[in-house]
């Protein structure tokens, strides 16, 4: 899922400075699962903002909504009739959802209420870790199901580097060395032959370096 973290209340209050009536919009997708942008978070954030603003002597009116998804046009449409009744929208969906809403409703200022994180997994309640950078050219079949691009701090293709110490990365003792994980897994799978092969330079053009990406599935258009 796409993960994220709440922006500090102070930062949000600063963004809201020009406004007196806004929409706080959540999303029932990824951000609900990682507990940063669902309907519950909409309620808590809205209450918090109302309290903070009223205590500061300047009330704010908030409409609380939570959309099925902010990244699909059909779920945004229901906002059209009322969105311009409000001065701005504070969205706590991921960056994709926020931008899509901004595109669809060009007259409404869109404010981000969270910092979007990464494509990750839930290790346990309250802990998420990164797994995929969406580089557009998956090699997991060669690397024991562990991604060198994401799990290695240097994204190298022939690791581990000299900074691997007892299975941890030089960058952070709490982070496992991706290449140690790959090698352990290749040994388990009896696939160490894969390790001994020189790998071609990665084509980053399928990654973000090629510019904003687009997928067109002719079979589905």
């Amino acid at each position: 899922m796409i993960t994220g973290t709440p922006k500090p209340i102070e930062e949000i209050l600063e963004m809201l400075e020009p406004y007196d009536n806004i929409i706080v919009a959540g999303c029932f997708g990824c951000v609900t699962v990682c507990r940063v942008g669902g309907d519950k978070e909409v309620q808590v954030l809205s209450s918090t903002l109302r309290l903070a603003r009223e205590a500061a002597g300047r009330k704010i009116e908030i409409k609380e909504v939570c959309l099925e998804r902010q990244c699909d046009p059909e779920y945004l449409e229901p906002m059209r009739p009322y969105i311009e009744d409000y001065q701005a929208v504070l969205s706590i969906a991921c960056g994709a959802g926020i931008q899509f809403m901004a595109e669809k409703f060009t007259k409404s200022p869109l404010l981000p209420g969270i910092n979007t994180g990464f494509l990750g997994v839930t290790e346990r309640q309250g802990e998420w870790t990164e797994r995929c950078q969406g580089c557009g050219d998956c090699v997991l079949h060669l690397t024991g199901g562990i991604c060198p691009v994401t799990r290695c701090a240097k994204s190298i293709f022939h690791g581990p580097c000299g900074g691997s110490v007892q299975g941890t990365c030089e960058v952070d003792k709490e982070v496992k060395c991706g290449w140690q994980l790959i090698i352990d897994r290749l040994v388990t799978l009896d696939q160490m032959d894969n390790y001994g092969k020189l790998k071609p330079y990665k084509g980053w053009d399928s990654s973000r370096d090629g510019g904003p990406r687009r997928i067109i599935r002719e079979d589905m258009v």
Partner: protein, 114 residues
């Protein structure tokens, strides 16, 4: 009516302040004694989160507090309540109520669950 403090979530507690509470007391069963296994433990975590929110927005974190009691501890309940009310009276009206500028109000609310 709440069946268990485990049903209380952060938004409900914040709503109490929005509705004019100067302080909120959450009273749950004794830890380890929850009828629903760990409802009161969850409540404690949520109260802590609200505590942090109130601190961040300068409402005063000490306006919320969780107590644990068994149903048979009437005297203790009275003592805790008096203690908390005294504490909140010392703090005075919440900044929300001050802003609403109707002067100080007697408006402690208690969300109680057993």
């Amino acid at each position: 009516m709440l069946p268990c403090t485990g049903r209380i979530d952060e938004s409900l507690l914040l709503k109490a302040f929005e509705n004019g509470a100067d302080g909120v007391m959450v009273i749950g069963c004794l830890e380890g004694d929850c009828h629903y296994v760990n409802g009161n433990i969850r409540a404690r975590a949520r109260v802590e989160r609200v505590y942090n929110i109130l601190e961040q927005i300068n409402i005063g974190p000490e306006r919320i507090r969780m107590y644990n009691l068994s149903a048979g501890e009437g005297a203790k309940f009275a003592a805790f309540t008096s203690e908390f009310v005294t504490r909140v009276e010392e703090l005075g009206p919440s900044p929300i109520n001050l802003a609403r500028s109707n002067g100080p109000k007697e408006s402690e609310q208690e969300v109680q669950a057993t």
